[in-house]
Every structure is written in structure tokens, then in C-alpha cells.
Symmetry: C2
Subunit: 116 residues, 2 copies
DNA sequence: TCAATATATGAATAACTGTTCATATATTAG
DNA sequence: CTAATATATGAACAGTTATTCATATATTGA
């Protein structure tokens, strides 16, 4: 494999890329965040929580599926810092962790030219 | 499973969630987009391409790994509409599909409080 | 046309992940 | 304390996916 005829520009970009490449741990964390929101079942939960805090009962109502599956998904989302949980009596109320979540969803939809 | 004592607010949120839930196909497309950028090896490619168009040779130089692995990853990224490709003689020059890609990466990093 | 180079790709394997089922924990009402 | 309810969780299975290896395709120069 040898260089292309854009050698200079591409080589400069490659150099900059190496110099500015985030460390492995940062990349792993970013990857984990996107992985958490890359499954339809979990995305549905996020789209649902856009409309406000909900306990598991209502999340199940909103997105369908079994209570167990939803609970497992919520655990992953919480571990990834995408949603936060708050106990309220017998219930656990879930909500989006911060405004970045909706912002990212909206960017993705804009990218795909689909309205949400 | 019965409703919680936030019945009214949560029930309203759940109703709105059901009414505004994107269709299955939109959700699948959003999920596929995030899945494409949820692997460290592919994220490295995107972080690299922030610095400009590059051919495969230079991408391999910037992110490491084998040519074959990088090529497979590029195929997925292209299929997902995250990067675009342009033939240039013997080389194929890759670049980010649009500004949304960098914007999403920056949002994720802001969310995680890590600088890139 | 032939050799060299850049990139792509099919198959195989190993690792990962989502769902289900059964069960556990925690909270409240009585 | 006991029963009922809400949520969480461990194990197992099925489906998915990233990497490697070998090879194919495409472009260029001679």
C-alpha cells in the first residue's frame, strides 16, 4: 500500500488526526454511550421519556414489550448515563439524564430527514 | 403491575409518548445510525476524518489496525450514510457525510465532560 | 497486455447482546 | 407481620457482529 496523489493534504490530515485522537478511554466511553442508544427497544424508551418522567409501569405501556425486558433496558440506559432514576414509593421514576439526549436524537433525525 | 401515585402526570406522558412515537422504520433507521458509530474502531475513523478527507491508506495510518478491518468498517459507515466515498484514481477518498456527524460527536463529548 | 498497487469482500470464528423465564428484592397497605 | 405490588436480576439461548485470512476487483503505468 502506497500513498495516493493527494499525499500532501491527506498526510497532513492524518498527522493531525493522530495528534488529536482522543485517548482509548474517552473513545470507549463515547462508544458505550452510542451503543446504549443504538437499539430500537431502547430508543423507544428515550422517545417516550421526551414527554416527561415516567415510572416503569407507564414506560411499558408506552413502548410495549415485557416488564422484564424494559427493566433490563432501563438498567443499561442508566448505567450509560442516558437516563436517571428516582425512587418514589413503590415506583421508580425514570427521566432523561440531560438535554444532550434529546439534542442528539434530534440531530440524528435531521440527518436522516425524518421528522419526530 | 398497577399505576403509581403519579398516575395523572405519568399517564399523560405515556399517552403523548404513544401518540408521538415515531414509526418502526424511523426508529430502525435512527438505531442503525447510532449502531454505526457505537464501535471504538469506527469512532476512531470518524475522529480522524474530522481533520479532512483521507484515502484508506491514510485512514489506516491514522487509526491503526489492518487494511481489511478498516475497509470493512468503512463499508458499514458508508452504508449507514455516516461517511461518503469518492474515487480518485487508484484511491478512494473518504470524508464525513455532513456536519451532523461532528455535531453529534461533540454533543456526546459534552455529555461525558470529555474534551476532544 | 502485464505487473503493481489500492481497495473491497466472502467465509469462518469468537465475542457480544437482547430477550425470556423464573425468581429475588423492596415498598406499602392492612 | 403478611400479602400484594413494583421493579430488578441471574442464567440461558438465539441472533448479531468485529476481526482475520485469503482472495477478488479496479486502476495505473510500462
Amino acid at each position: 500500500m502506497k500513498a495516493c496523489n493527494h499525499e500532501e493534504e491527506h498526510a497532513r490530515a492524518a498527522e493531525q488526526a493522530v495528534r488529536n485522537m482522543p485517548d482509548e478511554e474517552s473513545i470507549a466511553r463515547v462508544a458505550a454511550s452510542f451503543k446504549a442508544i443504538s437499539e430500537p427497544s431502547r430508543l423507544k424508551i428515550l422517545f417516550a421519556l421526551r414527554h416527561g418522567e415516567m415510572c416503569v409501569y407507564h414506560i411499558v405501556e408506552a413502548v410495549g414489550g415485557t416488564q422484564s425486558a424494559v427493566s433490563h433496558q432501563l438498567r443499561l440506559l442508566k448505567a450509560a448515563g442516558i437516563v436517571k432514576a428516582r425512587r418514589d414509593g413503590q415506583n421508580i421514576a425514570y427521566s432523561l439524564a440531560d438535554g444532550h439526549v434529546v439534542a442528539v436524537l434530534e440531530l440524528a433525525c435531521a440527518h436522516l430527514h425524518c421528522k419526530i
